[in-house]
């Protein structure tokens, strides 16, 4: 029982981070229709940026968090302008290849600058974990969940109550109609990329806090893919719930199946992905669009 609770708690925290990474993914997909394979790379880049700010330069943690998220925001705008603006109206494979090429460049540049070493932020949290009902919760995990929750609420409010959020929803519904109604689609694209990248970077920083800052975060960021498929590509709520489900599932698989199948923890999300795609391809909350010839 203790073990299940512990596994569920860890899963919740990790799942919240997966949900955050997936959220960036969904925001980009919803308005631009681009499935960003490079999301994992952006997650990794965010954690390295924060490392540079906080350890190399010596900013306090909160400031480096804000600085790297802001930098990621700008980077998102730049990549939209340079890489994805020319791809509007191009076939699907071209767009996907663009994100793959971009991922290749991010990874290359990251190894170039930071090498393949392991880094960690200087700890800002107290060492002694909180214990509730026998479940040990370290401060990092609690903070991670808190920050994720904050971002979920922020994004929810943004889409629900602000004018730009309304415009973004309009674009995701129908680009042509939105443009006819006077929404600047290019601005919305650029903004979606910026927000998506910034959220990915935030996810990366939190991920770096609870584990380490290293090259493998790119792979962990890729787990956003099973999450979005489970939740549905168009759904923000789906991304959050999907993240939590995948996180809990992965941790429980790690606890209970690891003795029989070593390393199953990393593959479990992809097995789930495969099963969902065969049974219910549009996920929990995704839209099933009718196709016309």
């Amino acid at each position: 029982m203790q073990m299940i609770l512990q596994g569920i708690f860890t899963g919740l925290a990790v799942g919240a981070i997966y949900g955050l990474c997936a959220l960036g993914f969904v925001i980009i997909y919803k308005s631009t229709g681009i499935l960003n394979v490079a999301q994992g790379g952006l997650v990794m880049l965010g954690s390295f940026l924060c490392y540079t700010f906080s350890v190399t330069i010596g900013f306090p943690m909160w400031l480096s968090f804000i600085a790297s998220v802001a930098l990621a925001f700008l980077l998102g705008m730049i990549i939209d302008r340079l890489l994805f603006r020319p791809m509007i109206g191009q076939p699907l494979l071209g767009v996907v290849m663009m994100t793959i090429a971009f991922l290749s460049i991010i990874e290359g540049v990251t190894i170039f600058i930071w090498s393949v070493n392991y880094y960690s932020y200087s700890t800002v949290f107290p060492e002694t974990p909180i214990e509730v009902g026998g479940v040990i919760m370290s401060h990092e995990y609690v903070w991670a969940m808190g920050v994720c929750l904050f971002f979920f609420i922020l994004v929810g409010f943004f889409f629900r109550y602000t004018r730009i959020g309304l415009k973004m929803r309009a674009v995701s519904e129908d680009q042509l109609a939105a443009q006819a109604a006077g929404v600047g689609v290019k601005t919305i694209f650029s903004l979606s990329w910026a927000i998506g990248t910034a959220i990915a970077a935030a996810g990366g920083i939190i991920l770096g806090l609870i584990s380490m800052v290293y090259f493998g975060l790119s792979f962990i960021g890729l787990k956003a893919m099973p999450v979005v498929i489970l939740g549905g590509l168009e759904s923000i709520l789906g991304a959050i719930l999907g993240g939590i489900i995948i996180g809990v599932l992965e941790n429980l698989a790690g606890i209970y199946l690891e003795p029989y199948l070593s390393g199953i923890k990393d593959v479990a999300p992809f097995v789930v992905l495969m099963i969902i795609l065969i049974i219910k391809p549009h996920g929990l909350f995704g839209l099933e669009r009718i196709e016309r010839i």
Binding site: Q90, V96, I100, A101, T110, I264, I293
Partner: protein, 344 residues
């Protein structure tokens, strides 16, 4: 099909010929002469590189059938290659000769491809990309963790009867020619036309009476057949198979070869593989020179390769989205009309 001025197909035999024009004959002769020169130059390095390129082309041809013609994504091509490589390695390790193990590798990879092609019946586009993405991780997980069969991450030996590098080069070249002809023939058969129809619009294709069930799976099977065979050749080329050789990145590189070469073009596949692998090899050699001046430089080779690959793909996507095959056609037209911009 585009035919140069003055070439007329006057019989069915001429119409169905693969080597049709004088230019085709000239290219074939040039290829033959090039191979002979390589063989007699005796340079192990060049033969090594040419063999590797040819193996990659065979595998890329398979992806071309699936992605370029049938329009189905696969980002798991390297994993299917791994299935072939391990099958052939394990079979030869237990004493099966090469001429049996290579076809077996192709068939096993093809069957695995069929299994992972199943989702393609219900989903397409991004969703299919995800499915093959999952396939890449699942296949590589099984290969790395099935210790009893594959010896895990330390690699499995793949003994070969053909020890001589030149003999192996000839074998690979013969396979390359055979697979190129096979691809050309598949593409103009009923199946090939069905693939193109599915690529254009799969709903419309189904309404015209093309069984999506049959032809999408067939496309996956053929593609993985090529990958498996190429994987087998790869395994015996190095006499050792390692799981790292077939990572997600190599799958991405395969898509890059197609894109740079040009989708839906057999010569384009050749161009793409040769260009990117050539660049890669050039970079390696460049770094080998630099190492004398600054020994730290080796650390930067792998990331530099990735950056160059990404840049090449991005530049092609923006400036020549139809790949080198299209540039080649444009160049031919330009030379044909030279010095006029159009026919006076």
């Amino acid at each position: 099909m585009y035919l140069p001025c003055g070439t007329f197909n006057e019989s069915y035999r001429l119409d169905s010929a693969i080597v049709r024009t004088k230019a085709h004959v000239a290219w074939c002769l040039a290829g033959l002469v090039f191979c002979l020169l390589l063989l007699f130059s005796g340079s192990t390095y060049l033969i090594h590189f040419a063999t590797l390129t040819a193996i990659t082309i065979i595998s890329a041809l398979g992806l071309q059938v699936l992605t370029g013609y049938a329009g189905q994504f696969s980002i798991a091509h390297a994993a299917f290659m791994a299935v072939g490589a391990y099958t052939s390695a394990i079979l030869t390790y237990h004493g099966v000769p090469l001429y049996l193990s290579l076809p077996a590798a192709a068939v096993v990879a093809g069957v695995v491809g069929l299994i992972f092609g199943l989702p393609s019946l219900r989903i397409k586009g991004f969703y299919l990309l995800m499915a093959t993405f999952a396939a890449q991780f699942i296949i590589m997980y099984i290969i790395t963790h099935w210790q009893g069969l594959t010896k895990g991450e330390f690699g499995h030996p793949a003994p070969t009867a053909i020890q001589d590098e030149r003999a192996y080069f000839i074998l690979v070249m013969v396979c390359l020619v055979a697979f190129t002809i096979a691809t050309k023939n598949i593409l103009r058969s009923k199946a090939g036309r069905a693939f193109v129809a599915i690529n254009n619009n799969d709903l419309a294709a189904e309404l015209m009476g093309i069984s999506l069930y049959r032809y999408k799976l067939l496309a996956f099977f053929i593609s993985c057949l090529y990958a498996g065979f190429a994987g087998g050749l790869y395994a015996h080329f190095y006499r050792m198979v390692m799981p790292e050789a077939f990572s997600l990145h190599s799958s991405m590189w395969f898509l890059g070869y197609l894109l740079v070469g040009g989708l839906g073009s057999v010569p384009g596949t050749y161009f793409g593989v040769i260009l990117i692998m050539g660049l890669n090899e050039g970079l390696t050699n460049g770094f080998a020179v630099l190492i004398n001046i600054y020994p730290e430089v080796t650390r930067f080779l792998a990331p530099f390769r990735q950056v160059v690959f990404g840049l090449v793909v991005i530049l092609f996507l923006i400036y020549e989205p139809r790949g080198l095959a299209n540039s080649w056609e444009k160049l031919k037209k330009y030379l044909h009309l030279w010095p006029y911009p159009y026919w006076p």
